[in-house]
């Protein structure tokens, strides 16, 4: 793939771009909005992380230490919601905003004004959600923040939900509108704004995975909106969707929620597959092994994600045929996922590998995500799941795929593209410290959760039986260590933002491929006003 770099620096003089606060508030520029998304998601990552620190502090020792169980429930709930909807999803949307137009040779996202709106809804949505936690922590009369777990099962969230549940419902609606608009923008951009010659099967895998993610978002976020709307009418308008007394069924909630919820977990991980598929070829100096199979594998994972939802609820008492269907479908997903892992490994095989920071994170992703995938396969086995259900084994599983999976890949993306975003190479010393501390502490944090889970420690409790004390002590140490390590990443990004450090060339990574490296670093405000020609 080669192209003429089509950037016009002199364009700037005529443009009168707004400065200061207005630049950010009114921005319709995909790079500025991408930056906003990324900073916002990092702020949410630190906030959600702080809630996790409260959880781990309480679980450091058996017995009640710092918070009461009621507040502990609010911590687990809001930690999950903030991390899923505030940290991981906006981070990948930010990456999409920054990189998709650059990767396909488009001047901007297709719908720039909608782009602005979809970002600026988010701070309000999370102010509402986190506001209820602040009120709960400092408020008079002890109003409770949402306390029913991030899955907000009825009737905990309907009949027994605290008053703040309505704030939560509004907040989820706003997040959903933001996600749907962001997803629509990606689809329209990819379909209509590609540079001449950029056929679908020439698109970088990050664009492909995001395109498929966007379709998943448009398909299931409205279902989530439907679920919270039913909650709202059950709570206040006399309907009985989930209320047995009125002829409804609380189990229906779980079906509706997980019909959204399972595609949602792929929404969080598919962009990561794209990131890793960009980084591994760059540092193995070989083209990606099996490009077409990667595209088809991603599409298969997305399609299968719609027929596996009930594996989250094997214990509700489904008929045998139902559990078998969902068990086999779930296991089937490991086939396309396995194709991906083998493709990454085959890309590295006999490559001239070097281990710069993005590559370190990417390799850690491949190993640890696969570890999370394997525990997922264990959970897919119905009779086994009856024992593992709602234990720390599940907690270990989804933190392996989401923290050492999704979040590690987002770090990989940040180290890979920060030179392009800021024009500054990320500080190597701090970056190495960040990587190694995160790698070791994340495993200290999450690996022993497998053991306590298998031994029967249930999730979402503020206390535990004495025999779990030693493991939980070390899990908490790992947690504090992991949390503090992320401040190193804050330092790395702040240094880049302040333009302190080694200047980055247009293409800082020797083996990197793609249109984004054809423009100078930092990427000018406007790029590809004249589309590049892709051969």
């Amino acid at each position: 793939m080669s192209t003429a770099a089509a950037t016009h620096d002199d364009h700037h003089d005529h443009h009168h771009a707004p400065t200061g606060l207005k630049r950010w508030l009114f921005s319709t520029n995909h790079k500025d909005i991408g930056t906003l998304y990324l900073w916002f998601s990092f702020a949410m990552f630190l906030s959600g992380g702080f809630l996790a620190m409260v959880i781990r502090a309480e679980l450091l020792e058996p017995g009640m230490q710092f918070v009461d169980p009621e507040f502990f429930n609010q911590m687990t709930t809001v930690h999950g919601l903030v991390m899923v909807f505030g940290a991981v999803m906006p981070a990948t949307v930010g990456l999409a905003n920054w990189m998709i137009p650059l990767m396909i040779g488009a001047p901007d996202m297709a719908l720039p004004r909608m782009n602005n709106w979809s970002f600026w809804i988010l701070p309000f949505a999370f102010t509402i959600l986190i506001g209820s936690v602040v009120m709960s922590a400092f408020g008079a009369g002890n109003p409770s923040a949402p306390n029913f777990g991030w899955t907000f099962y009825a009737p905990l969230s309907t009949k027994y939900g605290p008053a703040s549940t309505d704030l939560f419902i509004l907040s989820v609606h706003m997040m959903g509108i933001s996600s749907i608009m962001g997803a629509i923008n990606v689809v329209v951009t990819v379909f209509n704004m590609r540079a001449p010659g950029m056929t679908l099967m020439k698109m970088p895998l990050f664009v492909w995975t995001w395109l498929i993610t966007a379709f998943l978002l448009i398909a299931v976020i409205p279902v989530l909106a439907g679920a919270v709307t039913m909650m709202l009418t059950d709570r206040h308008f006399g309907t009985s969707f989930f209320d047995a007394a009125g002829g409804g069924d609380p189990v229906l909630f779980q079906h509706v929620f997980w019909f959204f919820g399972h595609p949602e977990v792929y929404i969080m991980i598919l962009p990561s597959f794209g990131i890793v598929s960009a980084i591994i070829p760059a540092f193995a100096r070989k083209p990606l092994f099996g490009y077409a199979s990667m595209v088809y594998a991603t599409a298969s994972i997305a399609l299968l994600s719609f027929v596996v939802w009930a594996h989250h609820m094997f214990t509700v008492g489904m008929p045998l045929a139902g559990t078998l269907f969902f068990m086999y479908m779930t296991m089937l997903i490991s086939v396309p996922t396995g194709v991906k892992v083998f493709n990454w490994v085959a890309t590295m095989w006999r490559g001239s590998m070097t281990f710069e920071l993005p590559m370190k994170w990417a390799i850690a992703f491949v190993v640890l995500f696969t570890c999370g995938g394997l525990s997922g396969l264990m959970l897919a086995i119905t009779p086994v799941d009856f024992q593992y259900h709602d234990t720390y084994f599940v907690v270990a599983h989804f933190h392996y795929v989401l923290v050492t999976g999704a979040i590690f890949s987002i770090f990989a993306a940040a180290y890979y593209w920060l030179p392009k975003w800021s024009g500054i190479m990320p500080n190597k010393t701090l970056g190495e410290l960040h990587f190694w501390n995160s790698l070791i502490s994340a495993n200290l944090l999450f690996f022993p959760m497998h053991f306590v889970g298998l031994a029967g420690m249930p999730r979402r409790y503020a206390d535990y039986a004495l025999q779990f004390a030693d493991y939980n002590f070390w899990i908490s140490i790992g947690g504090f260590w992991f949390g503090l390590s992320q401040l190193l990443f804050l330092a790395v990004t702040v240094l880049c933002a302040m333009k302190k450090g080694e200047k980055a060339p247009a293409k800082p990574w020797e083996g990197a491929e793609g249109l984004e490296w054809e423009v100078p670093s930092p990427a000018p405000f406007h790029t590809y006003d004249t589309p590049p020609v892709v051969k």
Binding site: V187, P222, A225, D249, P319
Partner: protein
């Protein structure tokens, strides 16, 4: 107009419209899942839901050489302070045999109460072989202040009931729906 003749803006708008329609349709789909779920539950007996209407056909045969144990449990939902019990805790029946069981509910309060009982069968697969010709759960039951009410339930088991189902539990949970009825004053479907 074919796509080539349109400007990028027009094509963008066209794609935007299609995707918005899709998003709205998926919002509708979430609500469509409710009747869909109920139909699936009715047909398969998923979740142990029993039929909400009375069986009108009498059983054709009585399978004398098989007995199935049916256990009854009762639970009190929100707002129920009185008694809710079944006279019989367990009964052995032949498939096809018509059986009467008495349930009792009392209202010790000084105001009238409208109740709704919700049945559930465990294991769920037995639910579709349970036919009730009369049940207090089909309608809302009014308990006058201080009343103790006899609520009969008549059922028979389908002669086709699979041979591996030798025993199942029928559970009733009674709810106070007085406020719900007063608030909406329209009928609440009993399943």
């Amino acid at each position: 107009m074919s796509d080539e003749q349109l400007s990028v803006e027009q094509r963008n708008k066209r794609t935007l419209k299609k995707l918005l329609i899709w998003a709205v349709a998926m919002f509708g789909f979430a609500f469509l899942m409710v009747p869909f779920y109920n139909v699936i539950c009715d047909v398969t007996g998923l979740n142990g839901k029993t039929s909400s209407t009375a069986a009108t056909q009498a059983p054709e045969t009585v399978v004398e050489d098989r007995t199935v144990t049916v256990e009854f449990i009762t639970q009190k939902g929100d707002g129920i302070s009185g008694e809710f019990t079944s006279e019989t805790k367990r009964v052995k029946v032949h498939p096809g045999e018509i059986t009467l069981v008495h349930f009792f509910a009392s209202n010790p309060t000084s105001s009238d109460m409208i109740t709704q009982s919700i049945p559930s069968v465990t294991p769920g697969e037995a639910a579709r072989y349970l036919h009730k010709t009369q049940c207090f759960c089909f309608d809302q039951q009014t308990l006058l202040a201080g009343e103790r009410k006899d609520m009969p339930m008549i059922f028979y088991l389908d002669p086709e009931i699979p041979s591996h189902i030798n025993q199942f539990t029928l559970s009733y949970t009674i709810f106070d729906v007085t406020e719900r009825v007063a608030g909406k004053n329209n009928s609440v479907a009993a399943n």
